[in-house]
Symmetry: none
Subunit: 234 residues, 2 copies
Amino acid sequence: MKILIADDDPQLLRALRITLSAKGYDVVTALDGRGAIAAAIEQRPDVLLLDLGMPGIDGIQVIHAIRGWSDAPILVVSGRTGAGDKVEALDAGADDYVTKPFLVDELLARIRALTRRIPEHGVNPVVSFGTVTVDLSARTVIDTSGSTSQQVRLTPTEWQVLELLIRNAGRLVTRQTLLTHIWGTEHARDTGYLRLYLSQLRKKLEPDPASPRYLLTESGMGYRLQLDAEERAR
Amino acid sequence: MKILIADDDPQLLRALRITLSAKGYDVVTALDGRGAIAAAIEQRPDVLLLDLGMPGIDGIQVIHAIRGWSDAPILVVSGRTGAGDKVEALDAGADDYVTKPFLVDELLARIRALTRRIPEHGVNPVVSFGTVTVDLSARTVIDTSGSTSQQVRLTPTEWQVLELLIRNAGRLVTRQTLLTHIWGTEHARDTGYLRLYLSQLRKKLEPDPASPRYLLTESGMGYRLQLDAEERAR
DNA sequence: CCTTCCCGTATGGAATCCGTAAGGATGACA
DNA sequence: TGTCATCCTTACGGATTCCATACGGGAAGG
């Protein structure tokens, strides 16, 4: 989630950058109105924190300029407490208005409230290979090999293995990585668990489990999920 | 544009009704939390103005109850000025928070800002699976298994569980998600509540509770509401 | 051809997780 | 004060999943 903060106070900017970064936001900053508009165009933030009263362009005009092409939520942070300023900013297209000084907890809660309504356009976590489609977020596997698409059930451990392979699709995943990720650091000694779960995964996912085309073994090293060409192109 | 105002102060209620009616809003009022929930269900307002600290139910719980099935913007108007109250209300699902006393012009501007983002038509809150039809907004379950359609009664906790499953229909819902969503804080330690309520829900909703077709268990992970194919197509 | 290593698969028991029933505690309401 | 619905706790049989072991096959190298 990318957030643009525009304020002419470098100190406040720095404090907000630290706070919001710690909360997992991708922070972009600007020091004046012109810079805010430019940054909004270049960076396409998901949320905007705008200070009115920045030097140069009037804050209201900044809102207008951005609202012309973006629907991202705009939260105005301003020292002006008058009702007239608030009404003007909100009617110009701002979604919320907080007066300085403000409490950080409240600001964060208001940002959460604004971003809640924005559909998350994050990376699509659905991957297909062979006759099978995997949706990591919904935790579903659908097999379209027969005439009717069928749900495939995986056990928790099978999911853990498959998820790690999908997140590193195309790349080699070492046995060590898989073992430590699933059984913890102390269980790095393979006694054959992995072969077992890979076998079960192939039985459930591969068109021909005897000769795997997607869940490949790299002898002596680990495993690799090989996607089809059109999948890799994404 | 229909707006629901819930406040225990009749005088404030009257003043707001006059003001908002003059602006062209269709005004509905309620004097306590229970009345607010009932009015929201019956009248389907486009916006809600909620006072915290009404007698009876806690304001936060009112927000939760309405957010279960409605996406209408909620603006909290409260005398409590603490950051904790604001954060709690906003995270519960409120979209804005104004402290009393407030300026009418600002309130109107905030209402305009909220209503500007209302989508044309919300998500259909009625879902069918098996022999039952669930209407989240009306809080009704109708069973059409027999010759005559029958009303099914669910307890509040059963509703909360079913609600979360319906809103994530087709997707896996973690035990942890269910527990934290229903029992609030870090009450994530399962001693068996969920199994109990799922059992009761199946008894009331499944055609054959012994072999569930819709309220599925994913052993070791959580639960999933599996809809029929034609329902999923929507 | 044989040895060695690594991998895939089958199988059974152990541990964990799940469904359901029964009973007590709590609170709303008359 | 008593009734009723709901919530919570406990307990136990059954199902699922995990773990450990064993055995067979294939590739590499001598």
